[in-house]
Symmetry: C2
Subunit: 175 residues, 2 copies
């Protein structure tokens, strides 16, 4: 708590995230920290500025979604993880993911995004590891996701399996 506390008290809380309980973790051990006074910080605080999140999703070319629905989805996700570049008193949202769950057996990870300027540095992997750690800490044993073709190998490298024992991910869309 110390880090954010100090950080917010030194800023104007520009994103309005001062009230929620914040859990954060700096990736000291991965060498991202303290490079030119810059840190990469992970958080499970779901009080994320929706415009900042939209900007991040724009950067990877996702179709825009109504913020009202995005807000609802975040509220009703079991886990929300975000990744921040922090420099002095400034921070920037550079990664995001969330998971739905029954709080008991299964979780499904959605909306995994890393800003293009921060891709290729192992940060997507760090974000996913953080999410998996949080889900495992809640005793969720079956973690699932639906991967676009170009990221299947990324997830495979993290231990995710496609179609284990012939189980198929299936989708139903309205006509």
């Amino acid at each position: 708590m110390g880090f954010w506390k100090g950080w917010f008290s030194g800023s104007e809380t520009a994103t309005g995230t001062k009230t929620a309980p914040v859990e954060e973790e700096a990736v000291e051990s991965m060498g991202f920290s303290a490079l030119n006074g810059e840190s990469i910080v992970f958080s499970t605080d779901r009080n994320i500025d929706l415009y900042e999140l939209e900007e991040l999703c724009d950067a990877v070319g996702w179709a825009r979604r109504p913020l009202r629905k995005v807000k609802k989805a975040i509220q009703h996700s079991f886990l929300v993880v975000s990744m921040w570049q922090v420099r002095g008193t400034q921070r920037r949202l550079i990664g995001f993911a969330r998971a739905t769950s029954d709080h008991a057996f299964n979780a499904t990870i959605w909306d995994v995004v890393v800003h293009p300027s921060f891709q290729g540095k192992g940060l997507g992997k760090a974000l996913m590891k953080y999410a998996i750690k949080k889900l495992r800490a809640e005793d969720i044993s079956n973690i699932t996701l639906f991967a676009d073709p170009h990221v299947v190998d990324f997830y495979r490298g993290m231990g995710f399996m496609t179609d284990p024992e012939g189980i198929k991910g299936m989708f139903w869309y309205p006509n």
Copy 2:
């Protein structure tokens, strides 16, 4: 409400499901109703007797799960649907499914089960249609599931697609 109300008032509420608000629907239009005084009824009441549910899951050979966790999963599912054979004042749980969701974009259906004695009669399809209708009524547009190999064709027949645009369902299990 009338049906269940009348039914409970005429019984000893053997399963203890008398208090929850109940939403039910008889499948009159599908010809299951009023055969020898028997009806098939669908419900979204999540106050289901866990032992009765366990019995149903036993009947299809599923591994037993701690009831404490099953209870938690039901509590935290977005949608719980059950299917009942009703004869006079007696009812029997013959089908079940539930869905997790972010309440906005995505839902994932889990634990779809129909008692073996009632399979092959179109009841699994009716149960799934009921679940999809309920999810659609909540404005969920992306309905997903993970299908075992022997039921992939069943879901395909209902309009579910495997790997649309190369999207792969992926699983992570603890080592």
